[in-house]
Symmetry: C2
Subunit: 219 residues, 2 copies
DNA sequence: CCGTATATTGACACTCAGTCTTATTTAAAG
DNA sequence: CTTTAAATAAGACTGAGTGTCAATATACGG
């Protein structure tokens, strides 16, 4: 289901075991939270499912929520790595868009399915939504720092967080309808939606209200 | 320190008491979390400081974090109210900017000071940061819904969340340096910074990297 | 193959946020 | 003053998250 590198002979036995445990916990979390609900699933049950103790769980994940969003984590980790490697040239928003697209293209074959399941779960469980928002905000901060370094700009330059925000927002918004269709069309379809969302950004700034709206309530 | 309407004779006694209790809890939270740290302050101590029981605390606030960010809550509540009342005409981003400025202008005289203290605390305590991020995200959703109604657009229109995000991001970014100067210049200075941040939005989209950067590492 | 240093783990105790129930108090209305 | 409805205090209870310690498994040098 997850990355197949757990049988990789290149890694020492100890590391392979750790990877397997981590995957077992993440898979169990996604499945059990989806089936029984986040609150109704206790950590002990989850740990027992993966045949480890509660203490071991916390050696792999900093919180109950974290185990459920591995697919999200893989995505943004790949994004940050791709960004660090990239030579930027031309409009930065476009570069961020391409970087994210490249990161998505390089993910595990099974990632699509897990990502859809993860985001459906997150949309249902507010505790997870909160956690993901905070996680993405941390990523955004790292993107800003990376960009400031590459572009030799003041890290306080307001344009950087705006761009980082827009790039991530566009992707997340693009993902929403894709997810509710069960990921139809695979990640190729996701990237097309992402493209559209990026185009919607300058269009947003041009959005105007009619000069004199009918004034009959509105909201 | 907080709103002075607690002695307002127009309100029934019971309501006045509730307001006083709420303020006592919010003030105690801001002060105690700042002095002793968020984790080191238990709910029982906080409740005892305000001379109520733990159960009462949870009748006023949904979480320990919520009591510390009343100033933030007042701001965005006023923003939503101002937006609901407003007739939109012209570029929407500019309208959101003006709406927020009007909301800030209408807040309590003591709000500035509490807001500075709140945001300094939030920046220090990651649990509070997480909570605020989630709170603002909920506000953003309400802004999108309100805009969709007023502009008669599909609530799924990607431009709406982008605009809502940009308006809030601009304000929060503008607030950062203002806060670290202790709110120097009052809310007038804050609104000037806000103005600059809004201007930085279209400038962000134009930001380009040099065609061939020196390629010497960067980050 | 064996013994030792070093991670990794399980078991357990502990704190505290948050929920729930019940009995008591207090404001408002008649 | 009495009745009614709301607010509150007190305290039991659940479960997440932390810290400690002993047991166990792994890597590694001989």
């Amino acid at each position: 289901m997850t990355t197949q590198q757990a049988r990789d002979r290149s890694l020492p036995l100890r590391e392979r075991k750790k990877l397997r445990t981590r995957r077992a916990l993440a898979d169990a979390a996604l499945r059990m939270f989806t089936e029984n609900g986040f609150d109704a699933t206790t950590l002990e049950e989850l740990a027992e499912e993966a045949e480890v103790s509660k203490s071991t769980f916390f050696r792999f994940f900093p919180a109950k929520e974290a185990a459920a969003i591995e697919a999200e984590t893989e995505l943004w980790t790949a994004y940050l790595a791709a960004l660090a490697d990239r030579d930027l040239s031309g409009p930065v928003l476009g570069e961020l868009h391409q970087t994210l697209a490249a990161a998505v293209a390089g993910l595990d074959p099974g990632w699509d399915e897990r990502f859809v399941a993860t985001r459906l779960l997150v949309a249902r469980e507010s505790a997870l939504l909160r956690y993901v928002e905070h996680y993405r905000s941390g990523i955004k901060g790292q993107v800003v720092a990376c960009l400031a370094g590459k572009l030799r700009l003041d890290p306080e330059d307001l344009r950087l967080p705006v761009l980082a925000e827009l790039a991530m927002t566009a992707f997340s918004l693009a993902g929403r309808p894709w997810i509710y269709q069960g990921g139809r069309g695979g990640r190729k379809a996701l990237l097309e939606r992402h493209q559209d969302a990026v185009k919607a950004i300058p269009a947003s700034l041009d959005l105007s209200a009619p000069a004199q709206p009918a004034r009959d309530g509105g909201n």
